[in-house]
């Protein structure tokens, strides 16, 4: 009796479901495991174990190319994140709080970058910047990559912040204003602390997306502005060495940390004020 539940699968169904789950996890994680293992292999050919070494990680740390690519990625990621957080939060507030003409259209358009394929977005961006380059005469590089990253990150930030805002009681801001807070104070001391986990989560998500993006970046990048994922992609064409494994592991760890932080941030309650 105890612990039994009418909806819980039993017998063969239960075992099949378990086997399925195990298979899915194996399918997901074996490649990652292989990737990690061979990043420590002392053999130029990926897939041939040549004994343990940290040389590939040292190569990664010492190579000017990878260091420059990493630094490019970090600069672009940080700037794109800050700007998309501000714009994404503002759009979330506008969509959640105000009724205005064309709201539904704006709403749908805002989420377009989430669903349209990266390549489509990349081509759009490339064409746009080519036109813009002729009109305003700016060249491809930091600005174009950062603008593209902002363009797709806003949507993600907006979704996450809106989820948080949607769960917030509208009466709270009214209560603050009833208690002598100005509109700004009500936002600053009540709304902002309550949606802060959403903003942080959205920001970390934006940073992850920016650090990981290959397709769009490759289309809009310019001389001297190779980001780390684009650099890795270029290396593959020259032949795969465990250096790629090492770089991939570093990126994997960094992304995982950011995503976990983002999830934690979305779970915690708002921080204290004043």
């Amino acid at each position: 009796m105890a612990g039994e539940n009418i909806t819980e699968p039993r017998g063969a169904t239960k075992w099949l479901l378990r086997a399925n789950a195990s298979f899915v996890y194996i399918f997901f994680y074996i490649p990652i495991l292989v990737l990690i293992v061979f990043s420590f292999s002392d053999n130029r050919n990926v897939g041939v174990w040549g004994g343990f070494t940290l040389d590939w990680y040292r190569d990664f740390a010492e190579s000017d190319n990878t260091r420059e690519a990493l630094w490019n990625s970090v600069q672009i990621g940080l700037v794109a994140t800050v700007i998309s957080v501000v714009l994404g939060t503002a759009s979330a507030l506008a969509l959640e709080r105000f009724k205005f003409r064309g709201r539904a259209v704006f709403d749908a358009l805002l989420y377009l970058p989430i669903i349209i394929p990266d390549v489509t977005m990349a081509v759009m961006m490339l064409l746009f910047f080519s036109e813009a380059a002729e009109l305003f005469g700016f060249s491809k590089g930091f600005a174009t990559i950062t603008l593209s990253h902002i363009a797709f990150s806003i949507s993600f930030v907006s979704v996450v912040v809106r989820a948080r805002l949607g769960g917030m009681n509208d009466r709270l801001e009214e209560a603050a204003m009833d208690l002598y807070a100005t509109r700004w104070q009500a936002f600053r001391y009540v709304t902002l602390p309550l949606i802060m986990p959403g903003i942080l989560g959205g920001g970390l998500l934006a940073l992850t997306l920016s650090l990981d993006d290959v397709v769009i970046t490759q289309f809009v990048t310019g001389p001297g502005w190779t980001t780390l994922p684009v650099y890795v992609f270029g290396l593959i064409r020259k032949g795969v060495t465990p250096l790629i494994n090492a770089v991939s592991v570093v990126m994997l760890v960094a992304s995982t940390i950011l995503v976990v932080l983002s999830l934690i941030a979305q779970r915690i309650r708002g921080g204290d004020t004043v």
């Binding site: 009833d178 002598y180 204290d272």
Partner: protein, 360 residues
């Protein structure tokens, strides 16, 4: 009544509120005295909460004037009005402790730290939440949350306290306790409480005066007794307490012709030909056999057949079918042999002044 020499705490004149095509509040005139416990009562959607929100400044009237202690409020925002609100479901700030919640208003007004601390402590003691200052709202029971909401509003020493269904979320026992506490608190502070509720019993027991609202209109304002005993129209009679509404037409000043053609005596107050309803409270009627009707009450009686008798301990509730209607009569318990049984012929009669004639 003489002209009021004292300024009303809250005065609404010709206040209308429209949301698009919907008229939420329809041309209301209302004056709430200083120090009064005033209830706004009505079913949901009657405009009572909108009226309260207009006083708070959370909505602005579409038309009309709203004054607080003689000052025209116009479109003054809520943070510049001398009133505070206890919100429905409290709207406590979930990320702040009890102490931070209570002191919020004082901090927003820029009061000094020491003054804020002492006033906050006083209020926390007043609502008996000492020792819970550091807790967050979700660590409090419903009753405690409601006290925090009260303290958070009262710490600002508002000239009028607005309460929107403050007891709605509490269970019955706690509700009754809080009703007493609110009443006591109001008497001690001497501040006007404007209280919105859909619970007529709550309104009747707590308030000095009650405003009954329906579909955006103010139907009647008066003391609990006035509203219960002299309802101004059919809705009020039906909404407040239990009653039997018997349709009829005014024949002359003292006679109503009921739907079955029988004539009963009542002070009609309406011109002949008006369709009215006669409101008879279940406890205001006497019951007996046809031969028991006193001669003096011959024209204020009806005869029918008992359909149901329910025993409630102190009282017996009879249901009596009279031609086209069924009456509910509540009478003191009598021994079983003396009770009328279902199927028997029964008559009811009433003192003429207890029958209230109301128009639609």
């Amino acid at each position: 009544m003489g002209g009021p020499s004292v300024t009303a705490a809250v005065e609404l004149s010709g206040v209308t509120k429209r949301f698009g095509d919907v008229v939420a509040v329809d041309n209301i005139d209302l004056a709430i005295a200083d120090g009064e416990f005033f209830a706004m009562l009505g079913p949901s959607g009657c405009g009572k909460t909108t009226t309260l929100r207009m006083i708070a400044g959370l909505e602005f009237p579409t038309e009309g004037s709203l004054q607080i202690f003689g000052d025209e409020m116009g479109t003054l925002p809520p943070n510049r009005r001398p009133v505070n609100t206890v919100f429905q479901n409290y709207a406590l700030f979930p990320h702040m402790s009890v102490r931070e919640n209570v002191s919020f208003g004082l901090r927003m007004q820029g009061m000094s730290k020491s003054e804020t601390a002492s006033r906050t402590s006083t209020l926390i003691e007043l609502v008996q939440l000492g020792g819970m200052e550091k807790r967050k709202p979700d660590q409090l029971s419903g009753g405690q949350q409601q006290r925090v909401a009260l303290a958070r509003a009262l710490v600002n020493e508002p000239k009028v306290l607005l309460l929107d269904e403050p007891l709605g979320a509490l269970d019955l026992k706690l509700r009754q306790e809080m009703q007493d506490e609110l009443k006591t608190l109001q008497r001690e502070l001497g501040v006007s409480f404007v209280f919105v509720t859909h619970d007529q019993e709550e309104a009747l027991t707590m308030s000095d005066r009650i405003a009954v609202m329906h579909e955006g209109r103010l139907l009647q304002v008066g003391s609990a007794e006035e509203i219960y005993e002299r309802p101004s129209n059919r809705f009020v009679a039906d909404f407040i307490g239990q009653t039997n509404l018997i349709d009829g037409t005014v024949a002359d000043r003292d006679t109503i012709v009921l739907a079955n053609g029988s004539k009963v005596a009542a002070t009609t107050g309406h011109v002949a030909g008006t369709s009215v309803a006669m409101s008879l409270r279940p406890e205001a009627m006497h019951i007996g056999r046809p031969e028991d009707i006193p001669a003096t009450h011959a024209t204020s009686s009806l005869t029918g057949t008992v359909t149901e008798v329910n025993y409630l301990g102190v009282a017996l509730v009879y249901r009596i079918a009279v031609d086209w209607i069924e009456l509910e009569v509540r009478a003191p318990t009598v021994s079983e042999v003396d009770r009328l049984k279902p199927g028997e012929t029964a008559s009811v009669w009433w003192a003429r002044e207890t029958a209230q004639v109301v128009a639609d």
